[in-house]
Amino acid sequence: MKSLHALHHKLSDTDTQIEILEQGVEQKLGLPLFQKKMDDAGLFPLKPTSLDIFQVNLGKMCNQVCKHCHVDAGPDRKEIMTRETMEECLRALAVSDMNTVDMTGGAPEMNPHFRWFVEECRALGKHVIVRCNLTIIVANPKYHDLPEFYRKHNVEVVSSLPFYNADKTDRQRGTGVFKDSVRALKMLNEVGYGQEGTGLMLNLVYNPSGAFLPASQESLKRQFKRALKNEFDIEFNDLYAITNIPISRYLDYLISSGNFEGYMEKLVNSFNPVAAQGVMCRNTLSVSWDGYLFDCDFNQMLELPVASPAHQHIRDFDAQALMEREIVLNQHCYGCTAGAGSSCGGATA
């Protein structure tokens, strides 16, 4: 399977995606645009509350090609962050109060400067999260020591596992992914991840394998804990239930399966003002592989930069100016405000 980008698919154009979303919500469904909904909830314009999390997208290169990927990542994507851009990130981190560095991709570990960057972030005293797709750990012998590397640097590992069986997992993430993920989870457990008393955090991410919303995070966590322990003797700490955001490959899936309008209608009708108050873009700053700044990873993939024209690149980082920005909203944001809410840390309401 190739990325939309490699296929020159019409949805690899971000303007086309935004147009489809806006037309879908307002014209086809006759529902209010997200900005109006936020205005009604007293949350427009939406402003940051703090700058706590620095989410760095180390590149679009990945060993997997998941059907729902909002990054359109894959082996055919070559865009990865250079060491120079990482140095610019470190300079910004050194002068800011952002205490958490959340590394994502693609598979961030495929960036040749990944380990160096983790070490430098830890040297600055930052808490480091790595969004590890699990299969990278077993993909090549050069990655087999990643669990030990994570342990040594006390990295928090956050890993996608859409279900506790092969059927649903492989349908979303590719044939054999569940088997490899189980193997990687066992390797993480062996060095202490997910084990009581070690302080080594291993958190899983659930996202629906289809055009529906996630269940209660607590209920899913109980199911996952029971099934993974009983069937595979795997332990983990927490589970984050994340709603699929209707952009990129997931948008392609929704349209081609005839679920686009139904899914958007469900997102809009499930708008929760409490979840809207707690959206992650209010305390997060997202930086792309080439150093540009965004309100979140989804805005990054839609090429909607921060609305602070003089500070749209990490080299121009200015915490005070960025705190005063207005967060850029569009129709995909309904994904973060539906039901119990959704963020990179799971439910928000």
């Binding site: 279900f163 069986n165 059927d167 649903k168 659930y206 629906p208 289809g210 529906f212 919303l213 996630p214 269940a215 209660s216 209920s219 899913l220 199911q223």
Partner: protein, 110 residues
């Protein structure tokens, strides 16, 4: 094509109160409480609802509880097993009446 069942009508269920609000309000309040977490989990209740939906053969309910069970993290196997429970009870209900038939036949036969 006109049919008695229209999928769009499911979304209008909440509007039945237009003709009789107090009873509708009571029904939906009761409905909400029934499906809340209790001695049974919301997930278990959703699977029961899916099975009952097939027993009463209500297309709206099948639509609603296929989505709800998926959203509650049920597997396809669990969903189909729930429907087999419904089918087994329905089939068993017919078959157990075979005893009545046998009683009658024995009563009338030499």
């Amino acid at each position: 094509m006109e049919t008695y069942y229209d999928p769009k009508d499911l979304k209008k269920f909440g509007k039945i109160g237009e003709f009789q609000k107090p009873l509708a309000d009571k029904f939906f309040a009761y409905y909400g409480e029934v499906f809340a977490e209790g001695a049974l989990t919301a997930r278990e209740k959703s699977l029961i609802a899916l099975a009952v939906a097939h027993t009463v053969q209500c297309p709206y309910c099948i639509d609603a509880y296929s989505v709800d069970t998926l959203e509650k993290g049920c597997t396809e196997e669990e969903m189909m097993e729930a429907i087999h429970v419904a089918a087994a009870i329905r089939g068993g209900a017919s078959l157990v009446h075979g005893v009545q038939m046998m009683n009658k036949v024995k009563e009338l036969s030499m």
